[in-house]
């Protein structure tokens, strides 16, 4: 399941998951809409191992500013609450999985 994050529950989520994958997106962004199903697949495949969540940057600008996001889709990968990887642009499921498993 993909958790919907906000400015309020973001820190809690990355703190509660040893590895967290966050999909930063917005509704009017075409590549983001294509990334959506990939992230849902990854959430199912990585359930129990990686916390997978989405953050709408339009509604939650504070997090976008905090992590200097200037293009979406952007994927943020956290380990032990620390940002270890930023991936900008649409990517394949295999590509994302390889990054997540390597952190």
């Amino acid at each position: 399941m993909v958790t919907e994050l906000t400015n309020q529950n973001f820190e809690e989520f990355i703190g509660n998951n040893k590895v967290a994958l966050i999909d930063c997106w917005a509704p009017w962004c075409g590549p983001c809409r294509r990334m959506g199903p990939i992230i849902e697949d990854l959430a199912n495949e990585l359930a129990g191992k990686v916390g997978v969540a989405k953050l709408n940057t339009d509604d939650n600008g504070a997090i976008a500013v905090k992590f200097s996001i200037s293009a979406i889709p952007t994927l943020l990968i956290f380990k032990d609450g620390i940002l270890v990887q930023t991936l900008v642009g649409l990517r394949s499921k295999e590509d994302i999985k390889a990054y997540v498993m390597s952190v």
């Binding site: 917005a26 009017w28 075409g30 590549p31 294509r34 200097s68 996001i69 200037s70 979406i72 642009g89």
Partner: protein, 290 residues
Amino acid sequence: MIIGAGPAGLQAAIHAAKRKADTVVIGKEMGSALFEAKIENYFGLAGVTKGADLLATGQEQAESAGAKVIRQNATSARQEDGSFAVVLESGTEIRARAVILATGITRKKLNIPGEAEFLGRGVSYCATCDCSFHRDVPVVIAGDESEAAVSAELMTKYASTVYWASDSRDVDDALMEKTVAAGVRILDTTIAEIVGTEKVTAVRMADGTEIEAKGVFIELGGKSSADLAMDLGILPEIDDTLKVSPDCATEIEGVFACGDVTGKPWQLAKAVGQGAVAGLSAAEYAKSGR
């Protein structure tokens, strides 16, 4: 309605028009990968043939068969009441019962220094996606055609200053007027290098000048095949190609695709063959009144 005036689109137009379907082709010959190509592996053509010559002849053939060719890019598309509407860069809207996407694969990158390095740190390929991250800062738009113009106009609602850099603009007059009226500053040169430290700070232009910028939007060509497909309800593959059945139908009834946009091999012979199939399929669909 055929979007794309390359070999796939024009062959589709020839076949659809000969089957007495009202046929319109939207696109620019220079948007086709064939335009700059030299052909020496096509059945029946001896020696080396210039792609541009084939396109010119193909367009004449399509027009003689009864198709109308409109030399503009599409800027958006939508499904509506069992038919499809496409908006041209002039703002004119065209409606059709069936659509053939023959857009090719859009080149997205400029391949200039700083482009890959600053992706997501000021460099963007989607103004629609990333406009709101560039409020009250200067930005530069790169691209020669409608997508650059549309993006530049959009960015005037967000950025402090919007520059549009191009040394060979090819846009409809109405769109150009709209873009200038929105306050876009026109630069008749191209971006040579994107510079910055952590993030983009400036762009160096081919004419030697340097412009302060926090954002660089690279918007080449017309609206991309993937974006047009999504407008019509089709989810493209990760490499921007579209899946088609043997009769060139996509997942959306009434929408067909042919040529490079359906994936490899990126060959003239395949584009022409698929164009013929798509033209016949779309003509049959459009005339069936289903």
